[in-house]
Symmetry: C2
Subunit: 332 residues, 2 copies
């Protein structure tokens, strides 16, 4: 049984947002009614950026609100999309007169509600562009009629690159184009050694045998198509990086951006070992990680596991990645 | 059973240090033989700062190496002190000609080995001063002949304030004095809902009943003098903050620095709720949190729990706290 540090689980999301904003009083502002967080000092004369989705993935999304990244993040209940009304109000709040890019992880509810909000905000003469993040290679069925790949940790990359472009004065179309190109190039693979537990629940979302690893798990505790045998850090990382390298067709000499992401219950020593394994596995093929994040950025409650995200990095994206950012979860 | 993302547990610490340094290639340098991490660009003409201790508390200490904080961090095995020889070499590496402040958490092995290293480095004409961090209120027995209070999350405060003073050109004695005054004013209380598991072990360090909370737990999985009933986030936070407020004699109008720290297996939503509860509990008594950290900074493997650290904050310490810092785990 996993007990949680919560009050009434019904109040979890508003209380958590309040805690985040109280702990970043100069940077963030809470809009209680519609459960979104904005920069306290609104940006002017730039394209607005709004993102959001279900809670339980912290620091995504509200932890990425701030200069150089998001203007607004809107929060649904744990693993549930915010409503179209919430997204509409969040989109309006993100607008500074040059339109709003909506960054949306590819889940049916999120896509639907952001789309409705985008259409309605058009009636208020707010131009919107939606950038869909669909990086999860485990859900790549090749079936164009299907729901497509899920959106996971590449969301951080898309939010960062679009944020830098918007801050630099790019137009609505330019920011959206950068986001779409980033999303199209980044892929992620995830695995779990144990599932997360919903706050207030007694049991995790699924259980695994002592010799099993869930390869291709989703960030909402979705089961994977396969269970594979448990192995050591180097072996686990190979399970993630090898399919990514193949899918992205990474060749000798390639330079990449990498995210080694903890899924919530993974501790720093484990992430450091995973990064080491990733570095060597790619170096063995002549591929260099030239930029990286190592930490827990896109989580699934207290799921114990990791994801690895890779994206080839040229000059344009490298400059956008390196641009200053100042948010609760990412600062440089 | 908790499985870990490790290779051979015997190699855990060197591999983890390698991973950390590989992921911060411009900032950090690894000294393999003696298992310490330095800034890649050594500081000049300033007092050196070295810290360290057992592993398993990441990002402490190596995550705090960088401009405005530590020069060198030296790592023992999980929950075991680095040897006196390691500390000696780390102390030498920290010296830039103006002496070295050693920041040491109050544990017998650490104190002994840093003291021996300090004495021997004197033979090399390196002046050293030791700052002992002993903030854990749960181990305050009042017995002056005893081992004294353990050192926990206030270490981050001492490292930050000393780091800022050293960077600003303060002398060896001044930096040590700041560290000692900070350590004397900061107190911490911790609780756990479940213990951590040593990498490679099958079982956690201790187990609790579903209605039990370990109040006053140590960061090495030391049992606490008391088990108290499980309760909600607000109630758990009261168990920590009320004794701190009494001990520090915090009065209406007081301004404090607070750390809400996850112990390894605590996820962000829980920390946000804990910060919210702390804010309101102190505000009810007219006490303001004017600076804070909310995150997992001083961990105990994957222990599920939190600690709260409070320190009254005057102008001198506030300015040192606000000074720029650039390390893997703390940047502003």
């Amino acid at each position: 049984m996993r007990r949680s540090i919560v009050n009434d689980p019904e109040n979890l999301v508003p209380e958590a947002l309040e805690g985040l904003v109280l702990s970043n009083p100069l940077q963030l502002e809470l809009h209680e009614q519609h459960r979104f967080v904005t920069r306290r000092e609104r940006a002017r004369n730039k394209v607005g950026l709004v993102s959001g989705g279900g809670s339980g993935h912290e620091p995504l999304h509200a932890g990425f609100v701030g200069a150089g990244m998001l203007d607004v993040a809107v929060a649904g209940a744990v693993f549930a999309s915010p409503t179209a009304l919430q997204v509409l109000e969040a989109t309006k709040a993100a607008d500074a007169g040059r339109g709003v890019v909506q960054i949306v992880k590819n889940y049916t509810g999120d896509v639907l509600n952001f789309r409705i909000a985008g259409e309605i905000s058009g009636d208020d003469e707010i131009a919107t562009e939606m950038v869909l993040v669909d990086d999860d290679l485990a859900t790549d069925t090749g079936d164009e009629a299907g729901p497509g790949r899920r959106g996971t940790a590449a969301t951080v990359i898309v939010e960062k690159l679009c944020g830098a472009a918007a801050e630099a004065g790019a137009s609505l179309e330019e920011v959206a184009d950068i986001g779409r190109r980033a999303a199209s190039r980044a892929r992620t693979m995830s695995l779990a050694l144990s599932a997360g537990t919903h706050p207030g629940d007694d049991e995790p979302q699924f259980t695994l045998g002592d010799d099993e690893v869930e390869l291709g798990v989703g960030i909402h505790g979705e089961r994977a198509p396969e269970r594979v045998p448990f192995t050591d850090a180097d072996g686990l990382v190979e399970l993630l990086v090898d399919p990514l390298r193949t899918e992205l067709d990474l060749r000798r000499g390639e330079e990449v951006l990498a995210i080694v992401n903890g899924l919530g219950g993974t501790y720093p020593l484990e992430l450091q070992l995973a990064y080491r394994a990733l570095h060597h596995r790619l170096a063995d093929s002549g591929i260099s990680i030239v930029r990286r994040l190592v930490g827990s950025y896109v989580t699934s409650l207290d799921m114990h596991g990791i994801s690895i995200t890779l994206m080839p990095l040229g000059d344009e994206f490298r400059n956008l990645w390196d641009a200053p950012v100042r948010t609760p979860a990412l600062t440089w």
